[in-house]
């Protein structure tokens, strides 16, 4: 599903210097996997997620998403691919504050050209799936942190993507809600979805099926948890 060969990425600092963030990543994630990327801050895990999520470009190496080589993407094409193949879950939820839970979930469908009526039906179905059907008409600021993240997960799933990318999905949550969100991600994975989680919390990583550890832009370990 996701295949990375010798991936490099550096950022310019000032006029001359570069910060080499990813120094040759080789990673292969198959369909249906539940992978966590672990590493301290500065290890390059967020950069990796941004590249995998087509939010940023890589400098060197190859990236295959769903067997398609990613290169020379313009903004428009990247947006189309993100909409079709990827679902995002962010640490800070990133719900649009003036839209209701239902409208937030329905938004990706708007950009993939689904009709209004259908959007409502599908979005409600996914809200139901994360247990928030009764909260459909509520604005994000009327929801708890855990509820917000579940809305975000519903939004990530609503276009039936190939991969769900979660960037510190529990970073802003307490331990109880962390557990419920992780349960939800596990359920999604059980249904066959590829889930790609970035975290620095051992407890979170331990609930996934495979842990990839990153340090200074390199993979230092890659092991199955036996879950």
């Amino acid at each position: 599903m996701i295949k990375l060969n010798n991936l490099h990425k550096s950022y310019p600092i000032g006029k001359k210097d570069f910060l080499h963030v990813l120094k040759g990543i080789d990673l292969h994630i198959k369909e249906g996997e539940f992978v966590s990327i672990m590493g301290s801050s500065g290890s390059g895990k967020s950069t990796l997620l941004n590249i995998v999520g087509l939010l940023d470009h890589h400098d060197e190496g190859d990236y295959f998403l769903n067997d398609k080589k990613i290169e020379k993407l313009n903004e428009s094409k990247a947006a189309g691919l993100r909409n079709k193949f990827l679902g995002f879950v962010f640490q800070s939820f990133n719900l649009i504050s003036y839209k209701t839970a239902l409208e937030n979930v329905a938004l990706p469908l708007y950009y993939s050209g689904v009709s209004r009526k259908e959007r409502q039906i599908i979005a409600l179905e996914y809200l139901d799936k994360v247990g928030l059907k009764d909260w459909a008409k509520h604005l994000p600021n009327e929801l708890s942190g855990g509820q917000k993240q579940r809305v975000a997960i519903a939004r990530a799933l609503v276009t039936k993507p190939k991969v769900v990318l979660a960037d510190e999905p529990t970073g802003a949550l307490d331990s109880t809600t962390t557990d419920s969100v992780m349960e939800l991600l596990k359920d999604i994975n059980k249904e066959g979805m590829t889930v790609f989680v970035i975290t620095h919390e051992e407890e979170v990583a331990a609930q996934t099926k495979r842990i990839v550890r990153l340090k200074d832009g390199r993979i230092i370990s890659d092991e199955l948890t036996g879950n």
Binding site: L55, I96, Y110, Y111
Partner: protein, 409 residues
């Protein structure tokens, strides 16, 4: 363009951020309000000038004698110049091909009596062609004719208001009015767009008036219309020649401005038109200036709005919004706000003109209003203005990188 869902998105963004929207629209609403008021007042001024030229023919020329201000050829200063029938004939003879209609005028204040009704009016004794020079419109009977003049007939063509004053609802036609003790027969009633004064005039054959009021051949004025085949410059050179001719004939210094005057209405009208054009230009200039200020204001606020919504735009992009969708959204929002605000300003301006218009009459502003053409033009300009205002912010929004946007707080 007509994507119901996108309109939905925009209406939601606007209605959820009312204060921002109002602030954004305010500058444009104000600009259009100012523009409408200025334009309406300009139109009002124009209407006033236009109505002042409605009276009489557009190619009329008035010859008015006065008193000299310079001694010349043995004549003392302050000599009173008197026009006579000879002048009328001389002008007609010399300039026959340049004149369309010509008439003498003698004025006399009279006390008119019909049965128990009494009123004071002005008699204007004229030649038959005066009807066409003054644009008197006969509504009953006929105007004076050459036969009346030859016979020095005691007949009158009276203004509509004279008939109304003296005869009430009855017709004045063929009735007799007493003017200063002498009976005259009413042979016609006329109306005139020149206003009430013109409709309170009593016309009488010039020969009759000369015989009764002075028993002489004196004239108070000569009026004529120049040949309409001449353009304005030709008519001006004609009236200049005419003035020189009359000054020479009456032994008035060529430098004397007041011995005799020849007033060419077309020239006055041209002067006023030039003045109106300058005024219109100034109004348009100020109007467009304020509009541009409004556009820049909207553009500025939209840039701020894009900055404020960076995160939201980033989220939309992460969820699959293409740059085109983002540009369209910002542009459409800008156009909508500009058009709506502009319309509020326009309607407000028109309402104000409607309410206060009548009260402005004493300031030479008559019927200040804005035409439908201007409203349609303003709509188009507003849509273009909105697009211009939204262009830079929209481009900026499209350039927002999703990661940077998502990291932004």
């Amino acid at each position: 363009m007509f994507d119901l869902d996108r309109w939905g998105e925009i209406f939601q963004a606007i209605s959820k951020n009312k204060l921002r929207t109002v602030l954004t629209g305010f500058t444009v609403a104000f600009a259009i309000l100012l523009f409408t008021l200025l334009f309406g007042i300009g139109n009002g001024l124009q209407n006033t000038f236009k109505s002042q030229f409605k009276d009489g023919a557009e190619n009329a020329v008035y010859i008015m004698p006065g008193r000299t201000t310079k001694a010349y050829k043995g004549n003392q200063i302050d000599k009173r110049i008197q026009l006579k029938n000879g002048d009328y004939k001389a002008i007609l003879h010399k300039y026959e091909d340049k004149i369309e209609y010509i008439s003498s005028r003698v004025y006399k204040g009279v006390r008119a009596i019909y049965k128990s009704e009494v009123g004071n009016y002005t008699v204007r004794a004229v030649n038959p062609n005066h009807q066409f020079i003054e644009k008197s419109i006969i509504i009953k009977g006929r105007f004076l004719n050459q036969f009346d003049l030859n016979k020095k007939a005691k007949v009158l063509a009276i203004g509509r208001l004279v008939e109304k004053d003296l005869f009430g609802k009855h017709s004045a036609l063929n009735k007799f009015i007493t003017l200063n003790g002498i009976n005259y027969k009413v042979i016609g009633v006329f109306k005139d767009v020149g206003g009430d004064w013109e409709e309170r005039v009593i016309n009488m054959p010039i020969s009759t008036a000369q015989g009764i009021f002075g028993n002489n051949d004196h004239l108070d004025q000569i009026v004529l219309t120049y040949n309409p085949a001449m353009d304005i410059n030709q008519s001006l050179s004609f009236t200049n020649n005419l003035l020189k001719f009359l000054k020479k004939k009456h032994q008035i210094s060529p430098k004397d401005q007041s011995g005799i005057r020849v007033k060419n209405v077309a020239k006055d009208k041209k002067d006023v038109n030039n003045f109106m054009n300058v005024l219109n230009f100034i109004i348009l200039f100020i109007g467009f200036g304020t509009l541009i200020a409004g556009i820049i204001g909207i553009s500025n606020i939209m840039i701020f709005v894009v900055k404020e919504r960076t995160k939201e735009l980033g989220i939309r992009k992460a969820l699959g919004a293409k740059p085109k969708a983002i540009i369209g959204m910002i542009l459409q929002e800008s156009i909508l706000i500009t058009a709506l605000a502009g319309y509020v300003g326009l309607m407000l301006g028109m309402a104000i003109l409607n309410w206060f218009g009548p009260a402005l009459k004493s300031f030479f502003i008559k019927d200040p209003s804005v035409s439908r053409g201007v409203v349609i033009g303003a709509t188009i300009i507003l849509i273009i203005a909105g697009a211009i205002a939204g262009y830079v912010p929209a481009k900026r929004a499209a350039r927002v990188k999703p990661i940077e946007a998502l990291n932004a707080n």
